[in-house]
Symmetry: C2
């Protein structure tokens, strides 16, 4: 029976999944102690399943003979990731634990950035020559398999220059007649990625191709390694996490939430909050500019300030979030900007009209439900409704401002990601809160300008 | 040479990647026309790479003989996804195109929800019996492979009751001695998922296990199918997209941005914006409640309203976004709430102090750089600085309000996802803008309460 989530064996044995659960709350010595409690097969499962950062920390806490044992059990790409996460000064020590051929492979991988195809790939893959017979190919693969080739789902067919000329799935080989040639069976329309391709682009290729592995080639078409779908699962999660954190107005944490130290966290969050705060101080400046209108308009004019600017902000972050995500998924490209922006203009006007109507109704309702709270200031108004005798023009100004702010927020929110992309900046970088700040400031200008036009002679 | 992004063949031939690029902007008839232009191998690659919705639309536009041809080329899980995306009334027609055994398989898959393990799995997998010899197993797999088993990366070992008792990778079989038994080679510590497990949990299992495929079993441990990593890449992208869209304050679009019709888009976005707008009207009510303070405090008091509430909003969405993502990744669970909230209290106070100091400095600076804009109203103040003679208490009230709002925003932002999860609601559902709205309203109350305490006798 598969040991699913079975709670049946209640003995004191620590399992891999127990340790995984407790991991985030353990300090480094307890982690090592916990790791030593595992049975050897559990320890292996646990070690292989660790994230590169955790794995490197655990490894550095073990004595050298154990380090050697564990690091040699890893595939070269996992070794490279683990070493990349270790402190600068420990890296050469870890490299020295490897046997010579693996050290060379890992060295090549370490030359690539961690977030490009070359940094993700495994340099060990099953390779065939085009003129091999199918039966020969199968037994050749069987020999390669003994030498730690990670994936034999696909075999890659290389010519004499190591250039990739075809791909053949194991299934195709198995189904072919034994005396056929590999070149007759292989597929020559190859989906490949270049070694310097960014991991986000690699993951898009995977999503499009729906394959279990993609070959990585250099600029000349020479085969360098393979990237497998299980690595891409991690990449996609990581990239989405970065985008989500940036959309939320933080720098990417680059580590699990509970493992980021407070000072580090303060830096990653404080930086953006201060930047946004400084941006928002422009609202105080805008209000200073309209001090006369605010003084004359009194509490009625001020009352709707937060409502109007937050409407702009909400519409703006909605639009920018949608566009940022569509860009990350490759659904929308730079050249699609006008299709997006024209849609968003229509959308913004429609949403603005809707919200403006809701705003108008809200004022109308309050007017007739409640009485004016500042009687003593305007005895001439008697007991006119909540917003005084000019409530219709007030409602009109508010509704129009809401409409314009929502439309402007939507437009700005959809345009800004394109502008950031055009300047070769990451559209996700705090775009949503940036839009909110921009729209808050301009929203106040819109509101007071409309109010001073419509309310002149009544409230102002 | 691999046809990477090679722009060399400039003939008029439409390639699969041309069509993929143009796809979003084509109307249904042009899509079918474009599809017909492809060479048969390009068409196959293109068809297999399509998302289920697009595939179902394309399929329904073809005449029945071609429908039959294309649908029979799909694996049963892809057939099920495609049929699920077709309109209700077309589904039985599409099912009727299948041969009897496939129809039965697809019927079983359609009984599962699309977002649970059973709905993702492929019911065809390589199966072995524990008492088979290794050589026998290899040739048996070779036969199964001819019958369209999708993945032979792993073979699953079932007992007479179809219960999963072991897993053996193809590589393990290849490396084993030919006369060994499958039961001697297989792994019995199996990572499996239950057929009703949610796809988000399935993708977490994949990220933990780093495997190319996971077996799906029912509650009794009977093998039902396999989920492969390439499907999980799609799941992870889809789930992240949903979360990002919800964090941005929209319902999940469930389709590529450019393919959602305007009315549908308006519904998904308008609903949340109206809800948030209604929430924000509470700010107008709060301001009405403090009308006396607003009237007395004049423009100076109103000037800082947007700054203070946006600070609370930004801190709140930052905290909630981080917590929501950590929850989705499984880094933080419900029982971790106090560890998170206690961290966020410290973080909120630190961030608040930082922002409060920035705010104080900003007022101090303006005071000494500019002169009071409303001379005629307060001739007794002379040419005192920008914020009048009481600027220090004003700066103090603003700084304290900023501190408290940032701390409160951070606390509320980190708590709300836990509350939503506790109520079995999705924490991502508009949590960030919800927090912003909540914090805006309470932020005003904080600000005016502090102002009326500190500024009584000076500005108020």
């Amino acid at each position: 029976m598969p040991p699913l989530e079975s709670e049946s064996d209640v003995d004191a044995r620590v399992t891999a999944s127990d340790l995984r659960d407790a991991w985030p709350v353990l300090d480094p010595p307890s982690r090592i102690e916990g790791f030593r409690y595992l049975t050897s097969s559990d320890a292996e499962e646990f070690f292989l399943g660790l994230a590169a950062l955790d794995r490197s920390q655990l490894l550095l806490g073990l004595p050298p003979p154990e380090q050697r044992w564990w690091i040699r059990g890893l595939a070269p790409d996992d070794v490279a990731d683990t070493i990349q996460q270790a402190p600068e000064e420990e890296r050469s020590k870890l490299l020295a634990l490897l046997d010579e051929p693996t050290r060379r492979e890992v060295g090549t991988l370490l030359a690539y950035a961690q977030d490009e195809a070359g940094g993700l790939m495994n340099p060990r893959y099953a390779r065939l020559r085009p003129d091999m017979g199918v039966d020969e190919a199968i037994s050749y693969l069987r020999r390669q398999t003994r030498e730690k080739v990670e994936s034999i789902y696909y075999a890659y067919v290389l010519d004499a220059d190591q250039k990739l000329v075809g791909v053949v799935s194991f299934r195709q080989l198995m189904m072919a007649r034994g005396d056929a040639r590999v070149r007759d069976v292989m597929t020559t329309e190859i989906v490949a990625v270049e070694d310097q391709m960014d991991q986000e682009a690699v993951s898009r290729k995977f999503a499009e191709a729906d394959l279990m592995a993609l070959p990585v080639v250099d600029a000349d078409g020479r085969m360098k390694g393979i990237v497998t779908a299980d690595d891409i699962v991690d990449v996609v999660r990581e990239e989405a996490t970065e985008d989500i954190q940036k959309i939320g107005g933080t720098e990417a944490l680059d580590a699990p939430y509970l493992q980021v130290r407070l000072l580090e966290m303060l830096k990653k969050r404080g930086g953006w909050l201060v930047a946004l705060f400084l941006g928002e101080t422009l609202t105080a400046s805008a209000n200073g500019h309209f001090s006369t209108e605010i003084e004359r308009g009194g509490w009625i004019l001020s009352a709707f300030m937060p409502l109007i600017i937050s409407t702009g902000g909400n519409s703006g972050s909605q639009a920018s979030t949608l566009v940022i995500r569509a860009m990350a998924l490759g659904e929308v490209r730079l050249r699609d900007w006008w299709r997006v922006v024209s849609r968003e203009i229509v959308m913004g006007l429609a949403l603005g009209t809707l919200l403006g109507l809701v705003g108008f109704s809200r004022i109308f309702l309050w007017q007739h439900l409640f009485s004016y709270p500042e009687h003593e200031k305007h005895p001439e108004w008697g007991h006119a409704g909540y917003y005084g005798p000019h409530y219709l023009v007030v409602a009109g100004s508010v509704a129009l401002s809401v409409l314009l702010c929502a439309a402007w927020g939507t437009l700005a929110g959809s345009l800004l990601p394109f502008l950031l992309r055009l300047c070769r900046l990451d559209p996700a970088s705090a775009c949503a809160p940036l839009v909110a700040t921009l729209v808050d400031v301009t929203g106040l200008v819109i509101y007071f300008t409309i109010a001073s036009m419509i309310l002149r002679g009544t409230l102002l």
